[in-house]
Subunit: 344 residues, 4 copies
Amino acid sequence: MAVRVGVLGATGAVGQRLIQLLDPHPKFELAALTASDSSAGKTYRQAAKWRVDSPIPADVAEMTVQATEPDAIPNDIDLLFSSLPSSVGAAVEPGFCEAGYVVSSNSSNGRMDDDVPLVIPEINAEHLDLLEVQRDERGWDGALIKNPNCSTITFVPTLAALTEFGLEKVHVSTLQAVSGAGYDGVSSMEIIDNAIPYIGSEEDKLETESRKLLGEFDGASLTHNDVAVSASCNRIPTIDGHLENVWVETEAELDAAAAAEAMEAFPSLDLHSSPDPLIHVFDEPDRPQPRMDRTVGGGMAIAAGGMQETPFGLQYNCLAHNTIRGAAGASVLNGELLAENGYL
Amino acid sequence: MAVRVGVLGATGAVGQRLIQLLDPHPKFELAALTASDSSAGKTYRQAAKWRVDSPIPADVAEMTVQATEPDAIPNDIDLLFSSLPSSVGAAVEPGFCEAGYVVSSNSSNGRMDDDVPLVIPEINAEHLDLLEVQRDERGWDGALIKNPNCSTITFVPTLAALTEFGLEKVHVSTLQAVSGAGYDGVSSMEIIDNAIPYIGSEEDKLETESRKLLGEFDGASLTHNDVAVSASCNRIPTIDGHLENVWVETEAELDAAAAAEAMEAFPSLDLHSSPDPLIHVFDEPDRPQPRMDRTVGGGMAIAAGGMQETPFGLQYNCLAHNTIRGAAGASVLNGELLAENGYL
Amino acid sequence: MAVRVGVLGATGAVGQRLIQLLDPHPKFELAALTASDSSAGKTYRQAAKWRVDSPIPADVAEMTVQATEPDAIPNDIDLLFSSLPSSVGAAVEPGFCEAGYVVSSNSSNGRMDDDVPLVIPEINAEHLDLLEVQRDERGWDGALIKNPNCSTITFVPTLAALTEFGLEKVHVSTLQAVSGAGYDGVSSMEIIDNAIPYIGSEEDKLETESRKLLGEFDGASLTHNDVAVSASCNRIPTIDGHLENVWVETEAELDAAAAAEAMEAFPSLDLHSSPDPLIHVFDEPDRPQPRMDRTVGGGMAIAAGGMQETPFGLQYNCLAHNTIRGAAGASVLNGELLAENGYL
Amino acid sequence: MAVRVGVLGATGAVGQRLIQLLDPHPKFELAALTASDSSAGKTYRQAAKWRVDSPIPADVAEMTVQATEPDAIPNDIDLLFSSLPSSVGAAVEPGFCEAGYVVSSNSSNGRMDDDVPLVIPEINAEHLDLLEVQRDERGWDGALIKNPNCSTITFVPTLAALTEFGLEKVHVSTLQAVSGAGYDGVSSMEIIDNAIPYIGSEEDKLETESRKLLGEFDGASLTHNDVAVSASCNRIPTIDGHLENVWVETEAELDAAAAAEAMEAFPSLDLHSSPDPLIHVFDEPDRPQPRMDRTVGGGMAIAAGGMQETPFGLQYNCLAHNTIRGAAGASVLNGELLAENGYL
């Protein structure tokens, strides 16, 4: 009865996290792994430079890695998780969908396409039905669903908890971990005793993805939320966990206590990977902190704290584990939502 | 002809930087060092756990440390630099001023007092004459001048360069180095692979000191600037150099090029420690960075970059060396201003 | 049927790890917590600055902290774990033993005393019976057992696995994590982008404790092993996990394969906290690494690798989690050994 | 009268340090820069991702980068510094020498060749005359001289200072900075909160290069020293500065004071880049430390400390700046020696 799943791009940093999460998963059974042509034919142990801090699962280690092509993987796979580089994702994901596969993708390509649902299940599960539009338009048997960028996932749940107050303006400054750039993304000479106030195209992702996630789907098309977001992104010397400073201005008055209460009360979902509570609110003003709090809720919760009123609305901080909630876990959770809603 | 100077609180992190800057200074001659009673009577080498990355100057090493009391230091000292803990500063600085000493202090006590000039020479040298008011009111022969907090000094020069556009609102997020908290201020277990989104009372300093610095002195009293500032402060694992993300909203239209031009054109002063240019503007979007750029202008310049227009005004980043321009060098420069203006 | 246990010095870094390990322990029930007088009377949540990366256990958080005195804790406690500073340990541990308590202590005081068993259960469980000698000599109803220093625990199991080859000389260079010095032991300004080639009295601990651990107990007295050990200790910027480079010269010929085999085959014990295998041997030459491998065996295993023959005997590397296997877990395991052997 | 010099491989990490050192050099005039074909024709500013913490020299920034071929550079160049990757060095350095250029190379290729002098001027300047043998054998008008590996340079001067005691055995454990692996050599995900107990082929370099450096040249051939060296190499999270723990066993008795005295008394040379003293000996047992002491002697001195007697001979620690004394500065100093000895 288990859903048979595969991972496209299984050897990279997010691919490794996917395997760490899928191996013990109660409903998903890992049945296919793909990577670049140079890895095809090797065992996973040979192909992957395993970097996750738990041992490589013994059975996965001996699986044979396939090329990233629809013909290379078994027909009876119900669901594919994709953590391909975005250029590769753009080139090959549509082919898998056309061949009938349902793909839950973490890759950034196509996220802003009108007929591609960009989903955080606890926030906008109803956008999933955009897949009907997608299948109509593209003539696919399969389907393509995306999760947002790691830095977007970190702050959007806290905004969603405040929508009742009428979101108007958001300033967000990020302090992002090096794992967000992939295994070789940031050299040690760049970041030890340093910070980099720029991450290419990251600011645009926070600004546009957040509006799509908080948008309204009327069954036919999606209207983006009109909250104005301005982001400034920084890389700092942390391994995992993106920390964000947020200022939010709202139509209705919003004080610190009301914001904390709204976040704590924001509901999680009855899906295996959705933590309860979704948003963990700290009382201590110096929390959340990346190393201390990135694993709250098994790495799937959002940590928040430091709410205070300012002349420009409410200021607070939030944090999420960027390769779990912000990437691999986000794709897995979308897979669970697809299964729950009969899309497999 | 040299000005004979002393350092109050000479053994701490800022005290050591003061000595590093004063020892080769062409106009100041180091003639007295004080510390806590437990250090009094020791040589400086014995009393200080020297941590600056250049050797302790040989002559200073053998100076005898005195107690931090007016009676303990020579009468012929013209100028005292103070890097005392603020509670100690509040208790003893007035006594030195009453005893006739002119004190250029980095300690946070008294910075916001109406009759205490809070000065960055290139920004508001004209506030120095508030000392006349101070002497009148307090009956001192000496005088007390303050430099701002390190995180305030980092962004205020960039704002000063933009005043012609009419400053309205400023959001600032800081990524601050551990040296800002003093030698034992941040434990390694707190900060390795981590960030802390809270620095006690730091946000208030950015918000209030900036308005005083940018205020108008009419010869009798000081009117604070009415720009609204909201700060969010973070500690990150860097040794030196505070990096800040700034959004500024102005009355007049302000584009990225105009902002860069205004900053580059902002004048420095003809004082020994004032760098030219005062603000170094980078073209590369990923600069300034703490480790790469904190020593620009000998650690006395402000580095800026990343100007971009947003829906909420201009966004940019700035950086300064927090223990040089942000502390010891700021006090030394104020000392040079005092000498230049006949206050010694 | 659970053993009721207490923790002396419960608020420090090792004390927190003890609580993290004892709270879910199947055989031990946490019934008392002590700390310094200033903490006595507070709840544990109030008294401890909790720094472990899992939440403070809810029931422990509300326990009342007692003063560290025999009269302050319940009579029905069967076993006390001590993580007191060594000067405090020296002053108060004997009083608890005299009052009838069995104390499993991580503090360094008394470790080298002739009648105090210094024990790593998998290595020298038979030394436990030195407690008979201790009780005879000291007239105690209670008992005092010690575990070694964290850096000693890291390499001694690998030496024990090689004793059959006849240990002669050992050179060991350590790369130690900051948590080994306690929460405030190493300031961030000391260690970011740095290493410190000196840890006070640490080298002596490796050199002398290892000989006692590998010694022979004949039922009446203990003869230390005569292997000659020379250590050089360094602090590096890692949070947890001590890495050590070892050269060992043996009477019998010892090649890399034989060493790896002997380590892998070294038996663990049938105690709750003893991992199987005790020594995890890596094939990859670049392992073990602190961040990747410190949690092998739940933080209770020793990781080893890099065996190679040199002109001076065998060279290899080993690693252990310094606050789990090297401190809190070591004390807990000694407690399990005491329970198993009827000493409670 | 200045010597016109060029840099082969000018865009890499060591190439940038070469430029930083050569630009202000009183005797060398930088006249040619080469890099890979993809950089040829660009200005140096365009071709190099400048990473040194002082600005790129203005005149160098506008120089045109050439291909790394003898025909591509001016004929009037007297001396070439090479910081090419070793595989490229092996392929192209001989061609330059054949074309008449004298090459002072930091690349590892050919270092152990019988007719290639491997030189640290203060240690074995007399090996330079091996160039006569080289020219005879190879028929070159030019010449090829090498400096050793960065980790070798760090400890060999301290051994050289102790040769009078009769070197027998050396154990050395290294704690090496990430810059030693080049700009992209160590990813941040590998090294933050971590250490890596393996650096490919590094141990062999310390063991063999040290014996060649300390060898005897009789005018015709070189006899390597027969001291036995065993090295264990580690990468740690420091930017610059290799720290090494050394145990040395000698024929004659050697105590800590005599070792310190011999090191302090070891002579430097009358060359521009040779610091005086060559070896800076610290009294404090916790020095040298990478961040504090890597710039002693302008980054060209060796720092040493922590001398203590052990059962296995003397133990001490030493440190050098790996990209200055250990690479770029080493090549420049060899260039000065070549000029001084009439080889240009």
